[in-house]
């Protein structure tokens, strides 16, 4: 079936198989930040935005994105780089496998929640599993990143 959609702002018209999953489509288009970690729609590693809303690309059949804008980490390089610097500074990147999904969801969170509490942060990011950090360093990163964002907003 032929559908039209956007990946990172670029319009695509393509003939796709009805059972093609968004995760596989994105990787075939060179978006290698999008990875499959669990096969059970649980780990958050394949997080992308569809019309600005974070979703799990491993469970989205491609026909559903007809007419929609898909954003991956490749399309958010400036913001992602800024956040990654905080991760590097706090040593929270560790193996790095879960980082793309985590960063996508963090960037969605800062758009959706103004000045979130620690509880709200934990709740929003609960669907991003990390087997290295134990999340403590993630929370350190988020505190410093959000503090800098708040400072920027105030100034």
């Amino acid at each position: 079936m032929i559908i039209q959609y956007w990946i990172n702002g670029e319009k695509v018209i393509g003939d796709i198989a009805p059972d093609l999953v968004l995760l596989d489509l994105l990787r075939s288009k060179g978006c290698y930040s999008v990875k499959c970690g669990c096969e059970t729609t649980n780990c958050g590693l394949c997080t992308v935005w569809i019309d600005g809303t974070p979703m799990l690309s491993c469970a989205v059949p491609v026909p559903r994105i007809e007419g929609r804008h898909v954003t991956t980490l490749e399309g958010l390089q400036k913001e992602a780089t800024e956040f990654a610097q905080f991760m590097g500074a706090e040593g929270s990147d560790q193996c790095g496998f879960c980082n793309p999904g985590f960063v996508m969801n963090v960037l969605a969170m800062v758009r959706e929640l103004k000045d979130p509490t620690e509880e709200e942060i934990k709740e929003y990011l609960a669907g991003n599993l990390c087997r290295c950090t134990g999340y403590t360093s993630h929370m350190r990163v988020l505190r410093s990143y959000l503090a800098k964002r708040q400072k920027k907003v105030k100034s």
Binding site: P18, D19, R64, G127
Partner: protein, 268 residues
Amino acid sequence: MNITHYVKAESLEEAYTLNQKKTAAILGGGCWLRLGQQRVGRTIIDLEKLGLDKIEETKNEFIIGCMVSLRRLELSKELDEFTNGALQESLHHIVGTQFRNMATIGGSLFGRFGFSDVLTCFLVLDTEVELYKAGRVSLAEFVRINHDKDIIVRVIVKKTPKVVAYESLRLSATDFPVLTCAVSKDTDDGVVHCAIGARPVKAELFREGQEFFAGGFSAEAIKKYAACVQDSFAFGSNIRASAAYRKDMTGVLITRVLTKIMAGRYRE
């Protein structure tokens, strides 16, 4: 997956007709596509063009379209207020924000999944489902009937004044629950409704045991009521917990939830 036809239905009649095929299935939010060994049908029917993604509020009811996401339910201030936080409590442990942005209320209820937090909570509200062919039936009745090829169009929650509380037990955060428990108490006549899910079979509503509260909601009455619920339901074992553990914990959760309701500490 072996989907050969993906149809964005233009009408409910089209969706219903297509869905009568044995190999057809309604997509809902799509979260079931990777759910264990479930067979994905060759024809997938997508309802997203039918405008069923709205929550409407009338004087007497909340009318929730089947394509409303769990996240939208969670963020609905009106539903949160009506259920005094219980609905939100039942939703926010489900996997993660991204998952709840996709999963729909229609899919969650139609699946009648044993692990469903959503089903457990909606059972103790005065809930009906509007099926395309069969019309409106109570959720408690819908849970008991066998799976068929009808379509949940809307979920209707009547604004019967009540206080509600919800608790679940999980081995780890965001995992499937080991046990789910919702209790509501009607404000007008004090009738208590209780639903226990993840036993591990699907949640069911318990309406008996009102006599225990004839003399008021004392600790002793709650204890007797909890024991009555424990004896009325069948419990099973699976990888997460044994039947005996589930039965024991049912008593704990009911006591906890009813104590919250009696003390007016719903949101704790």
